[in-house]
């Protein structure tokens, strides 16, 4: 599949790959929240938008992620984005630009709809970037380390965080597998004459039934087999574990954190100034 979906990890060697997972997770969270750091008009100002897009673009280049695959993924995401766009377009009050009957389209609506698409694209790009540069094992390790202080407060939290990190790791690990499976089963049904590319939406939805049943069946079977395999190898979610590699913050991580904080402050500053 020629898409770069969140969940795809490639063990390349880039600056971003070598960063500490905690820094990357914190950074990803920051970059996902920043587009929501809006002024009074519920949308970020132009300057902060440009800064954030430029910063994420630099990160994409640094990560050596396939840019064409990423663009293709965003194009797919746009299908979802369009619904949001039109929702905001028609429901945001403001000075009407065009008015046809009862439907009014305002400049504010246009901007609000655009903002949603921008946020969605950024969300997908940043999460794809995080999983592209961080292996599921690193992610889990980082998450455990970040949540560890909570565990010192009371015991159930610690057990919960361990179970949660494992659930998350496994879920991420199977996103690409599931997509491969969907593609394979689509082709198998196509070979039996299912018209997957039919222009009629009704026809298209009808072709989903032959896809979903086998995919659910195989997902459940896979989950069951995985659980048994884990148990057979002595897995207990409540066990306390040590790690082969200890997470150690380096000068590089410090630099990256400083850059992230600087970008965050710059954007908040720009928003404040634009108000």
């Amino acid at each position: 599949m020629n898409l770069l979906l969140p969940g795809t990890h490639v063990a390349a060697d880039s600056v971003l790959h070598r960063l500490d997972p905690r820094v990357k997770m914190g950074g990803a969270l920051l970059l996902m929240v920043l587009p929501f750091a809006a002024g009074s008009k519920d949308r970020p100002c132009l300057a902060s938008t440009l800064l954030l897009v430029a910063f994420v673009a630099v990160l994409v280049v640094l990560s050596t992620a396939p840019i064409r695959a990423l663009l293709r993924t965003l194009r797919t995401v746009l299908w979802v984005g369009f619904f949001m766009f039109f929702f905001y377009l028609f429901t945001t009050p403001g000075q009407p630009l065009v008015a046809v009957g009862g439907i009014r389209v305002s400049w504010e609506g246009l901007l609000a709809g655009g903002t949603q698409i921008y946020r969605l694209c950024l969300l997908v790009t940043v999460s794809a970037l995080l999983t592209f540069t961080t292996s599921p094992a690193q992610l889990a390790h980082g998450l455990e380390a970040v949540l560890a202080p909570l565990g010192r407060l009371c015991l159930p939290v610690r057990e919960f965080t361990r179970a949660f990190t494992i659930v998350l790791t496994i879920a991420l690990r199977f996103v690409p597998t599931l997509f491969d499976e969907i593609e394979k089963i689509t082709r198998a049904q196509q070979a039996r004459g299912a018209d997957v590319r039919s222009p009629s939406p009704v026809q298209r939805v009808r072709t989903w039934v032959p896809l979903f049943v086998p995919i659910f069946v195989s997902a459940f079977r896979r989950a069951d087999e995985l659980a048994m395999a884990m148990e057979a190898r002595g897995f207990r979610s409540a066990h306390r574990r040590t790690h082969l590699h200890r997470l150690q913050l380096t000068g590089r991580d410090l630099m990256a954190s400083l850059v992230l904080v600087a970008v965050g402050l710059a954007i908040l500053g720009l928003e404040r100034w634009a108000q």
């Binding site: 599949m1 020629n2 770069l4 490639v10 390349a12 050596t64 396939p66 064409r68 695959a69 394979k184 089963i185 082709r187 198998a188 049904q189 196509q190 070979a191 039996r192 004459g193 299912a194 018209d195 590319r197 039934v209 032959p210 896809l211 979903f212 049943v213 086998p214 069946v217 195989s218």
Partner: protein, 295 residues
């Protein structure tokens, strides 16, 4: 219809770090009614090749012709041609989805737009061809069948479309030796009854000569051997290049030859090998009788 594969190249995930060439410039012609076995180690591009023949993948370079149309084209003519190519994927039972066996097998024929009487006739015929008791299984829920039975139902689903070209991607994978032999014998019967072109991807070197007449060996995305099945399977060098072992019969005959027996090594089936060895033994005996004067 003539299947012509011309310089077929296919790259998975082109332009990403996961890029991998599955086929590199494969060319083949397959005549109507021919029975072709496709062999090769895992990752040699067998499945990718047959999916191109079914028009399910768009080549990165090169072309696949089904008669006079390009296999993956989006024209009406190409779609009609593709419907004459039946492909059963590996582990086809994983792709079943209907509530009853009847509906499962009828899925293909219904997509062909046939009327219900014809659909029913085809389902009965196809289930009979795969050796299932039609009246017993038609109303069953597919998931209540055994793995082997479900595999047969899935294959019946492809047969029921009455394809001109039947492609089976490792139909015997995961079956026990007896199940393999039976299934391959059935495949042979289907081909004889319908005269369709058969492309069989298989690792069953010992059984393959019973079903196909020609063998194509793939390795690393290219064709390393293509010819009559006897010739290809007794050619140790081509199989070694592809990372495959010669069939056990050929291995035995070769060992005998090395030990000084004058036997031919292209006897692939057990009974042929046995006859060859018996003949060589008789010759040895008669020489011994003539020369030594033993009783």
């Amino acid at each position: 219809m003539l299947i012509r594969v011309e310089g077929l190249t296919y790259t998975y995930a082109a332009g990403t770090p996961l890029e991998r060439a599955a086929l590199r410039g494969v060319s083949l012609d397959i005549r109507a009614g021919e029975r072709v076995g496709i062999l090769g180690p895992t990752g040699s591009g067998k499945s990718t090749l047959v999916q191109h023949v079914a028009g399910l993948l768009k080549p990165t370079a090169g072309r696949v012709w089904l008669g006079d149309v390009v296999a993956h084209a989006r024209t009406r003519a190409a779609r009609a041609r593709r419907r004459q190519v039946g492909l059963a994927f590996q582990y086809p039972e994983d792709q079943t989805f209907e509530r009853t066996v009847f509906r499962e097998v009828a899925f293909g024929p219904r997509n062909l737009g046939l009327d219900e009487a014809e659909v029913l006739a085809r389902v009965r015929w196809a289930l009979g061809m795969v050796g299932l008791d039609t009246t017993r299984v038609m109303g069953r829920v597919p998931f209540t069948l055994s793995g082997g039975e479900l595999r047969r139902v899935a294959l019946a689903g492809v047969l029921a479309m009455r394809p001109e070209v039947l492609i089976l991607d490792e139909p015997t994978a995961g079956l026990d030796p007896r199940g393999r032999r039976e299934l391959l014998a059935q495949v042979r019967t289907w081909q004889e009854e319908t005269g369709m072109t058969l492309l069989l991807v298989s690792h069953d070197l010992a059984e393959l000569p019973r079903v196909v007449e020609r063998a194509v060996v793939l390795a690393g995305g290219g064709v390393v051997a293509d010819g009559p099945v006897r010739q290809v399977l007794s050619d140790g060098e081509a199989l070694r290049v592809a990372g495959l072992d010669v069939p056990p019969t050929v291995a035995l005959l070769r060992a005998l030859r090395t030990a000084g027996w004058s036997v031919r090594t292209d006897r692939l089936l057990p009974e042929e090998a046995a006859a060859e060895i018996a003949e060589a033994r008789d010759i040895l005996h008669s020489i011994a009788d003539d020369g030594g004067g033993h009783p």
